[in-house]
Amino acid sequence: MTLLNVAGLVAGYSAADEILKGVDFAIEPGEIVGIIGPNGAGKSTLLKAIAGLLKPSRGSITLNDRPIAGHAPREISRMGVAYVPQENNIFPTMSVRENLEMGGYVDPAGTRGRIELAFGRFPVLAEKRRRAARTLSGGERQMLAMAMALMVEPEVLLLDEPSAGLSPVAAERLFESVIAINRDGVTIGMVEQNAREALSIAARAYILVDGRNHRTGRAADLAADPDIRRIFLGG
């Protein structure tokens, strides 16, 4: 059974400004799915619509065959979809530990145990547990944002350009974390500007252009396609 299914999705920031013009998208349990494409293709808009931050004007979104489109973000979060925005994805004045507590707000039972799990997965966060989140480096912030999303043990984790603005070393560490999280059984949908890296860790990928599906397939096949290499991977 498909875990997350999006069909014919039309959405945007206003009725006159439709960014997604009928996108189809699906994630099977346990896989990493990459979403790549040029700026303005609608990649982040797709994740925002799934997370409930944008109300689609047409199309359907289902999680385990249950419709989730039109629900409030907190309801979608409770249903098992954890979304990590590209920016402003932490509570800057709160401590690292408090950020994790807020990550698990909808499911407070067992928060303490899950915080210890998060510290085990991201030791750098354990070292800085009492520090205000605003004092973390860019890579550490992204790790905190992912750790917060994992606090509700989601069925699917949606990451919006997690490597944006990171140094190559920090980005590499972050992608290693994404792979490790997936190995632990978490299904991941990831929008990524670094198309080469996204295709190297994803099982499948979607290429969006101008709010529509351009290509879909196994990530390895897409990475080997000469046209895609030339247009999206810089040759």
Partner: protein, 291 residues
């Protein structure tokens, strides 16, 4: 101690007393600003509502000061939630300036409701007459110290609530990043009601503390609002520790100005403080750190 030093010391002590009391409604104003993102000038009338609720409890019902202060907090908080839901919430979509102007209209309406019920005359609480204490040439009234203790206890309780409870942390989360708080499942409407209750409750408590030090009338809150607003702006609008620092700065500044100016010009300190901060450090002394 030379007389001028004794006078300065006395004014500083008075300023700390005034500033600590001022901090209570200033925290109310700044908390509401941190979460709802507009300056709610109705803090003024809620201070008056609290002062009169405490008056009814203390004078009409004969309750001691402490339970009366608790009642002042609860009544002003409840009025704050109702007024926000019925009057201010519908304006929020129109932006913070519109909502702030609506809060001025609300404060005038509430103030006149109090005037309608209680009249314009000055009223005092039923307090025992006590001799001031003298500590090394500085006079301190026992009632002033009790007011100080109540203000400090209220602030400590608020800090503990924000630091150690799940709901308090959720309030800070909404103040910090409302969109992410929504994604994480925090209900912004519930937090808005809670911050209106706590913020206006503190305004009411502050109104009664001001009244315990002097007298009350329907303009009690209106007279204090400039100093309260100055305290919040000086500390950094949206910052709770900033409101405390700002209130102490404004309180001590207002008292020290008496060395040079007639008490009629005391409110100039608030204006000057707002002007200086907005010119030199627009984010306030502690910036806009919510907690």
């Amino acid at each position: 101690m030379p007389p001028i030093l004794a006078e300065i010391a006395q004014l500083v002590v008075n300023g700390i007393m005034t500033g600590t009391i001022l901090a209570v409604p200033a925290i109310g104003l700044t908390s509401i600003h941190a979460v709802l993102r507009f300056p709610n000038f109705a803090v003024a009338s809620h201070a008056t509502v609290g002062a009169f609720a405490g008056y009814v409890a203390n004078v009409k019902l004969g309750l001691p000061v402490l339970p009366s202060v608790v009642l002042a907090f609860l009544v002003a908080g409840a009025v704050g939630v109702a007024a926000d839901e019925l009057v201010l919430k519908p304006f929020r979509a129109a932006g913070f300036i519109t909502t702030a102007i609506a809060s001025i209209a609300l404060t005038i309406a509430l103030e006149n409701l109090v005037r309608f019920g209680f009249g314009n005359e000055l009223r005092g609480y039923d307090l025992p007459i006590m001799r001031d204490w003298r500590l090394g040439g500085i006079r301190v009234g026992p009632q002033q110290l009790q007011n100080l203790a109540i203000a400090v206890a209220a602030m400590a309780a608020l800090f503990a609530f924000l630091a150690f409870t799940r709901t308090g942390k959720a309030m800070r989360a909404v103040a910090d990043n409302p969109m992410l708080a929504s994604i994480k499942g925090i209900n912004a409407d519930v937090v808005a009601r809670l911050v209106s209750f706590v913020g206006m409750g503190l305004a009411g408590l502050g109104g009664m503390l001001i009244g315990l030090d002097t007298t009350i009338d329907p303009l009690t809150g209106f007279r204090a609002i400039l100093s309260v607003f100055a305290a919040a702006v000086v500390g950094g609008l949206g910052s709770i520790p900033g409101a405390v620092v700002g209130a102490l700065t404004v309180g001590v500044g207002e008292e020290l100005c008496l060395l040079f100016l007639s008490p009629d010009y005391r409110s100039a300190v608030g204006f000057t403080a707002i002007l200086l901060v907005l010119t030199l450090r627009p984010r306030g002394i502690l910036g806009q750190r919510a907690y």
